[in-house]
Symmetry: C2
Subunit: 337 residues, 2 copies
DNA sequence: TTGTATGCGTTATCAT
DNA sequence: ATGATAACGCATACAA
């Protein structure tokens, strides 16, 4: 019976013995095969195959000081939008040999802090985080006492001077609001998501900018969450139904539509509704949703690239990378007559 | 300037020096504080605080052989259904101090094999996998040469005798097909997802069982993927439109509805449609989807429990845990007149 | 080209 | 109660 280690998988010593070589030779076969003679190389490879040996990443990390681990912190791991970003970043970074630990905070900054510490303990070399709130005072302290490379994605803590990749939220909402106003809508309601997040703030700013630019006076802002239910409830609370509703994201907009229908209004005949995201289902909902598309996957991919720069020790040129959005015209908007 | 290690964070030696004790004492303060005198304990704690020291998890893992790492392998990390399961399992296991690495295969068994190896290299102690295909010949070999604890979730490789947590797919589809038939539908189409996956097979079995039980002769089975687009395309290919369509999951059903509408049929007046999953949006789609609800989160949570048993070294009593589904009646089904 | 020996940061065993 | 030291599995500097 071959000797096995505690975790029952073969180690480099087992391979060396079976192949009748030293452990350094085995190590070389794995890390620098060309430096080993044909003869020994094949003997070692056979032994590796036979034992099902694969290097212990833990030991390797301890020795080299490199874990090739990247940590993700996002508010909610069941939200496909966040995961599409994660996928984008992974698709870029996995070709560089990284492994990923992705964690969800359930929108809690307290949990966020805990995860931050946990990931640091795992010696991640880089981190990508989409913030869970408007601020997190522990964040800066923790990060600066380590040397992880880190970049914010989609949402950032504004007081922290870290690289950030996002979309031009303000611009997107401003343009779609402009569009509604140009179509004759003069009574507007904006349904915001979590008000302290950077993206919610920016989107609201876009709305306000458009409204002021056009001298619209009949408008209202309501605060809730970035969920279907929130859009639904906020809309139900409306004392006066406006001419158009701008949802903080697609879910909110869809919730608003549902509420509007139940309240006896039809969309877009009575009221126009728009969202933000262009999530998967928005084009199939009835009526299909007019919205602002953000390049989610690309945002993640770009974030991965930036982090990669950082990991390579490069100084990055632009600290903030803001991607453009695109208005998608569909069925939930109609000219106001 | 205090001496720092390569990764720039303090180590146990730094703490020991600053506190004027041996490293063993520092280790004890961390792992078994009561065994250290009041005096030294506080000195060490001060030093830890001052240096911002936290134990190197990598070194600790190498020494103890315990990583407290759990690996997940799922077909697609952007699919909220899979992630809801993951969340269920995490919610249970994180209280036991585990950290999670979740990987997506993009439905490729080849990628699945690679990830399996990668996770093993990371010395995960447990794995939860939702299979990406119908079989993976490398799987058994790789797993058995390690001693990771592992359990299949939602989909399994049938030739592998591993613990499995899933839902009664066959029963769910059989019951909803029974329901359609009882409502007078005599011409049925079943739109299957990836035909080699265990869940697709089981669901199809349920359909066939119902059809045969009732002596229905006018039925058809079409194979595609578990996607909206697949449901759409399969439906468009239909030579003869049936009385009712059973989608392999909700997405497929929704795609079928979209196609049906475009083909000039109305749902449920002309044709009834049902799905499987009861995903988030199904209740809000127009018309709202009649479907089979599976307890996704609970499935994950249960899987976490089972894995925990395994990790504790317990022999588990039941190897397969099959959860019940529930029929959700909504608007896409109508009695056939 | 190959082997020997050292150390990465910890925990655990053994003295004291 | 405390300290010296070995060992975890690996990569690598150095020796041969």
């Amino acid at each position: 019976m071959k000797s096995k280690t505690a975790n029952n998988s073969a180690n480099i010593k087992n391979v060396a013995q079976l192949a009748g070589v030293s452990i350094s030779t085995v190590s070389r076969v794995i890390n620098n095969p060309d430096s080993v003679s044909e003869e020994l190389r094949s003997r070692v490879k056979n032994a590796i195959e036979k034992l099902g040996y694969h290097p212990n990443q833990i030991a390797r990390s301890l020795r080299t000081g490199s874990t090739k681990l990247i940590g993700f912190i996002i508010p909610d791991i069941t939200n496909p939008a966040f995961l599409m970003m994660v996928k984008g970043a992974e698709d870029f970074l996995k070709r560089k040999g990284y492994t990923f630990i992705v964690c969800g905070t359930d929108h809690s900054t307290h949990e966020e802090t805990k995860l931050l510490r946990a990931l640091l303990s795992q010696n991640v070399e880089g981190m990508i985080v989409t913030c869970s709130g408007g601020q997190n005072s522990d964040f800066s302290h923790i990060i600066h006492s380590s040397n992880v490379k880190m970049v914010f994605m989609d949402r950032r803590y504004e007081n922290l001077n870290m690289p950030y990749v996002g979309v031009d939220n303000a611009d997107g909402v401003e343009r779609i609001t402009d569009y509604l106003i140009e179509l004759g809508h003069r009574s507007l309601v904006y349904l915001s998501g979590e008000r302290n997040t950077s993206s919610a703030k920016e989107r609201l700013r876009g709305f306000m900018s458009s409204v002021q630019k056009h001298g619209i006076e009949d408008f209202q802002v309501m605060y809730g969450k970035f969920t279907f239910e929130s859009g639904y409830e906020l809309t139900k609370k409306l004392k006066k139904v406006p001419s158009a509703v701008i949802g903080g994201n697609d879910l909110v907009a869809l919730g608003a539509i549902e509420a509007l229908l139940q309240m006896g209004y039809s969309v877009p005949e009575d009221v126009s509704v728009v969202g933000f995201d262009d999530m998967f289902y928005s084009k199939y909902s009835k009526p299909s949703l007019t919205t602002v598309r953000q390049p989610i996957y690309e945002m993640g991919y770009t974030t991965g690239k930036i982090l990669w720069q950082l990991l390579c020790g490069n100084r990055i040129k632009r600290h903030n990378l803001i991607l453009k959005t695109e208005i998608v015209l569909r069925e939930t908007v109609k000219r106001r007559v």
